[in-house]
Amino acid sequence: MAEQKNKKWGMVIDLDRCTGCQACTTACSMENNVAFVGEKDAGYGRSMQWIRIQRYWKGQYPEVTPTYQPMLCQQCGNAPCEPVCPVFASVHSDIEQINLQVYNRCVGTRYCANNCPYLARTFNWFDYQIPEIMTNYLNPNVTVRRRGIMEKCTFCVQRIHGGTEKAKAEGREVTDADVQPACALACPTDAIIFGDLNNPDSPVGQAARNKRGFRVYEELGTDPKVIYLKAGGKYGG
């Protein structure tokens, strides 16, 4: 059995390729049992999307073009949400090096959500009813959350675990192909690249060295693990 090295799971999002189609949002919701809040609450800003498309307009009317920025939990290396939680519901995992939310511990102070500069966290304002027939769609690997609980993107930690276990059983090193999250798989333009940032030869490792790369609010010292590639510049479309 191969030795399992510590992985630094990370993501590169190429804004040049993003078309704003929201396939990632949909895939994420189905994979992670994210609740649908209904029209009224969604209109009020309570829609629960672990990854959302932030749309900005560029230029003056009538020459406006939209730009899209998928925003999700940046899995900060130095996460602002972690120290403020009084009950250790927001914790850092040593093995996956990601930021986890332990739903069962959460008491719902919502402090973490206030302190997140990316506002990547969503809160269960109500118990959102799932129609009987729809329960068959729920992913059995992911907890269904009840009201009063904070939740957020986990980099599909169930897939990371599943892939790692599978590789271990087969006696080989886990590869990026084993652990792709739902959003990266669903992206029709391959704008989302996921993998081990420690491996310089992997697609994500190569993309991370791209000159267009930047990290959102890096100046705050959060050490995010999601790298964006700038759109519309010298190096790309």
Binding site: P86, G108, T109, R110, L119, F123, W125, F126
Partner: protein, 478 residues
């Protein structure tokens, strides 16, 4: 030269008009009369009082516990909270109550330590405000929890979950600070109460006598007992001052240690303390005005001189608050951080700008214009109106800091609005009713005037004739 003479003549005329009997300390009555008055004030209940108690009790049941129960059963969504405004009126009202509760102890302990004589008749009314203000405020960390039924997970005790609370979290600092303050201020309320409880014990029968007997701890009033209680009160008065400063600093750290634009400010500690004292001293004035108007014999104990003295304090703290507000604003602006600049512009120009201007008018303009005037300071109802406005301004200050700042964070995509719902307003109003209810009930259960302190003060003050002038002399008792 002529101008100087005019000023001196004017001062002399003012002095001769002043009647020493206006001061409580120089208007002594026999001790038995004072005792009887305090007992009468405590034991007199009019039908109006009972109607107030019943109405407030019902309001607490409906507004606080009804709305809260509904929120627990249905979900936090019944409030106006949304992304990005995760805290709205609950934390605002929490900070407001902790601020109010500040000044009770501030007025009592600081004035006791500095031996300010005018404190004597109203220390207890102020301390009671601290205790019940904390009781009302301490509910909010529970009310605002998404899953309040497991609130005990925040309490540090050895448990089956094998999990200690996170001591890095400001929520836990709050928990510890508020508990410390509640405990120490309750003891500080109780200690000076013991001689008065003994006084009440000796003048009541039946169940009241029985309760006072237990609470008075067998007080007889011997010299040794007085010596011990003075020592104890003195220790507590000194010790509680740093506790009081730490509590509101810790409340401000809830915001200051975070990364939220407009919260992350090192001046928040003193700024919050000054704001708390301003709103708290104002609340003391409000309570004294109401007590004076509604309770028997209170117009003897609480006089114009007290409103005058407290009015000066309010004015000083209003100016100090203005200074700290300016500091906070100036440094935010001068720092040049783009996001922070947008937030402070949003305060002054956004849809909620009226709150910002209302806050400045109520907290700076109104006290600065009115409280210089002695006529206004000595008029209880005008003081009541002014201090109410100050508290309205202070509420909006906290409102601006919490939900309004949250609605305008770094990323423009996340700028959000919130529309207050009935629950948002009912629960804070419910805690106001709870505070009034508890205060009203307690005002008939314990002597609201520390009568032994008044008697002690009156014994210490005498008028002496020096030449033609009457001079107040104060002897050291303690």
């Amino acid at each position: 030269m002529a101008a100087e003479t005019r000023v001196l003549n004017h001062a002399a005329a003012e002095k001769s008009e002043e009647d020493h009997r206006e001061h409580l300390m120089l208007d002594p009555r026999p001790r038995e009369t004072l005792n009887r008055w305090v007992m009468e004030a405590m034991l007199t209940t009019t039908p109006r009082y009972w109607i107030m108690v019943i109405v407030l009790g019902l309001l607490v049941a409906v507004l606080l516990f009804g709305a809260w129960g509904n929120q627990i059963a249905v979900g936090m969504g019944v409030t106006s909270k949304t992304r990005p405004v995760f805290w709205v009126t609950y934390i605002t009202t929490f900070v407001f109550w902790i601020g109010i509760s500040h000044a009770g102890t501030f007025v009592s302990a600081i004035l006791r330590v500095f031996k300010a004589e005018f404190r004597r008749p109203f220390t207890r009314a102020a301390e009671l405000m601290t205790t019940f203000g904390l009781a009302a405020g301490a509910l909010f960390p529970l009310i605002h929890l998404g899953r309040v039924w497991i609130f005990y997970w925040l309490v540090p005790y050895p448990n089956a979950r094998w999990l200690w609370p996170n001591l890095r979290s400001p929520v836990l600092w709050d928990f510890l600070a508020i508990n410390t303050y509640l405990l120490s201020s309750t003891i500080y309320l109780y200690l000076p109460l013991i001689p008065d409880l003994a006084m009440a014990r000796d003048r009541t029968t039946g169940i009241r006598h029985f309760i006072y007997k237990i609470l008075a701890l067998g007080w007889r009033g011997t010299e040794a007992e007085w010596h011990r209680i003075r020592t104890a009160i003195n220790i507590f008065a000194f010790a509680i001052i740093p506790v009081m400063f730490s509590v509101h600093t810790i409340v401000s750290w809830d915001f200051a240690v975070s990364m939220v634009v407009g919260w992350h400010s090192t001046i928040f500690g003193p700024y919050f303390i000054i704001g708390a004292i301003l709103s708290g001293v104002s609340a003391v004035v409000m309570i004294l005005a109401v007590l004076r108007a509604t309770m028997k014999h209170m117009d003897y104990f609480i006089r114009k001189e007290h409103f005058d003295a407290l009015g000066k304090l309010v004015l000083i703290f209003s100016l100090a608050w203005a200074y700290f507000f300016y500091n906070d604003f100036l440094l935010s602006w001068y720092g040049g951080d783009e996001a922070l600049k947008r937030v402070i512009t949003f305060h002054a120009e956004g849809p909620m700008a009226w709150m910002w201007y209302l806050m400045l008018v109520c907290n700076i303009l109104i006290p600065a214009v009115t409280l210089w005037n002695k006529k206004i300071r000595t008029s209880p109802w005008l003081m009541f109106i002014i201090t109410t406005l100050i508290n309205v301004g202070m509420y909006f200050e906290r409102f601006l800091i919490i939900p309004v700042n949250l609605s305008h964070q770094r990323s423009p995509f996340d700028w959000g609005e919130f529309n207050l719902t009935p629950t948002d307003i009912m629960i804070p109003l419910g805690t106001l009713c709870l505070f009034l209810f508890l205060y009203l009930v307690m005002s008939r259960l314990i002597p609201l005037v520390p009568v032994w302190e008044v008697q002690e003060g009156q014994m210490a003050h005498t008028l002496r004739k020096v030449g033609k002038a009457e001079v107040t002399s104060v002897s050291e008792l303690e």
